[in-house]
């Protein structure tokens, strides 16, 4: 495989720019991130991209590859290259900074808007909360807690594109884990936050987040859970 060559197109610029084409040696077990790194080291030193861990933990290297948002460090070239080449662009639904780098600020601001942060219910001097691992609520939290904040679901979601108020699947998935976390001191506050404009009720249940999530989470199910939980709270009068 080492003598084969890949044709790789990479977005250069910001909102306006162009695709530039590079010929890259195709190697065995080569990831998209390997390809981008090879180009940056050998052909285009000014190429801007973002990565850190290279092993699918940090969530910083997501890009659009052949039209789909993917985590590039765990995307093997051989799995996505058919007869064609590779086209790499920045993630959708986020402001572009340069080349393949997007500004993640709105993504994390939306986490805050969905109250996607833990509110402690105890101080450090109190004993640790004891929650059995087979507790039904804890199981729900466990199912959603492994999000690596890569932004792939956010980029895959058409509702995020259409509705600038919509906080997106990642923020709502986080809110869902907190709404089920017995240690959180303001679970009602989470339900209030996701019932605002652009909250969970704006989701159309397209399921693109589930389809694209690189770690196999199901934000759509969590959002459906938030809809049920908020309606229950509304009917009980505890949402106001």
């Amino acid at each position: 495989m080492t003598d084969e060559t890949l044709t790789v197109e990479i977005w250069r610029g910001k909102d306006t720019g162009r695709f530039e084409t590079y010929q890259v040696p195709h190697r065995k077990s080569q990831t998209i991130l390997d390809v981008v790194t090879w180009i940056q080291r050998n052909r285009e030193p000014a190429l801007a991209y973002r990565f850190a861990c290279r092993v699918g933990m940090c969530g910083s290297c997501a890009m659009t590859v052949n039209g789909r948002p993917r985590w590039t460090c765990r995307t093997h070239v051989s799995k996505i290259v058919g007869s064609g080449g590779v086209r790499i662009e920045p993630l959708r639904n986020l402001p572009r900074i340069k080349d393949l780098v997007t500004d993640m600020t709105p993504f994390f601001e939306k986490w805050q808007a969905a109250r996607g942060r833990f509110e402690p219910s105890a101080t450090r001097s109190e004993p640790m909360a004891s929650i059995p691992s087979d507790d039904p609520e804890r199981r729900i939290v466990d199912a959603g807690i492994e999000c690596i904040n890569c932004g792939v679901c956010h980029a895959a979601c058409d509702v995020v594109t259409w509705n600038p108020d919509y906080v997106g699947p990642a923020a709502l998935n986080r809110a869902w884990t907190l709404a089920n976390d017995q240690r959180d001191g303001d679970r009602a506050g989470v339900l209030k936050a996701v019932s605002e404009v652009g909250g969970c009720h704006a989701c159309h249940t397209h399921g693109s987040c589930v389809e694209h999530c690189p770690v196999g989470l199901n934000p759509t199910a969590g959002i459906a859970g938030l809809k049920r939980m908020t309606l229950s709270a509304l009917l009980k009068g505890s949402l106001s």
Partner: protein
Amino acid sequence: MIEARLYLLQRGSAILLAPLVLIHLGLILYAIGDGLSAAEILERTRGNLGWAAFYGLFVLAVAVHAPIGLRNLAREWLAWRGRSVDATTLAFGLVLLALGLRAVWAVIGVGAGDGA
């Protein structure tokens, strides 16, 4: 919270409308299939409280359901936001309600004009 309320109202009215629409369509097929004239239909519906309740509920559910959906469409597809879209879709719902109730009255009301 208004979003959760609207969501509940739209889903609730949809649940109501699902059987109502099916009965309404079945009724149309029945009336057309049997070749009932307008006068024969009115004869059956005039003063019938059952049909008054059925179509009254139908109109109410439509007047709740449609404007909420339109509001969502306007916000997403036309990027139309703020109070103006709320007021416009609310007005649309009230128009639907008025037209629908007027039609119900024309078919059910005793003494309503013939052929209305």
